[in-house]
Amino acid sequence: MSMSPARKRYTLRLAAAMAAFLATFALAEYGIDRKQIGAVAAAVLALLPGLCVTAVFWALGRYLVEEKDEFRRMLLVREILISTGITMTVVTIWGFLAEYRIVPYGHAFYPIWLFFFAQGIGGIVNRLTYGDSGAC
């Protein structure tokens, strides 16, 4: 399956965001944990990895806008809806379980990784129902 120009741009943006995330995360881990910087600089460093991850959502949005193929757009929308549904379900149930101390509270950024993982499940559902995951 050939990659559309919009998909190529999305892939490049995704790779850039992930590379920036890894670099800023390493920087924050190194700088903040060793207490080599002040409070303001630490706050800025702590912000950067999160901003890099949110760039992935921007890239997803741009791909939806730029993709000319309506079938591929539909597949991505389905993927995001399935992923959002799974994430919201898990977060809601986990939240109530944590509220009553059945399970521990988790980090606030765990749902983001769950969302990305669930996108893969959305792709599998697309493949099973439409014969195409829309991955290219």
Partner: protein, 71 residues
């Protein structure tokens, strides 16, 4: 939605990829439409019909007419 796209394409001797290129969509889109898994938008349905020089209803079967047994 049931349609005659596969037959019309075969009559022209086009592959799915060739038809996709003419419509400026992916081959997967053509396949999904041909197999009835995906209903194209009205603009794309018009593009398909115009490519074959036909009216939309000569390419796509109306679901309501289909269920009433009119076709």
């Amino acid at each position: 939605m049931e349609n005659r796209l596969r037959v019309l394409r075969a009559e022209q001797g086009w592959s799915q990829q060739q038809l996709a290129d003419k419509l400026e969509v992916s081959r997967q889109s053509v396949n999904a439409i041909e197999t009835g898994k995906y209903d194209p938008s009205l603009p794309l349905a018009f593009r398909i019909a115009e490519l074959f020089g036909l009216a939309i209803e000569q390419v796509f079967v109306s679901p309501s007419r289909r269920s009433s047994g009119a076709i």
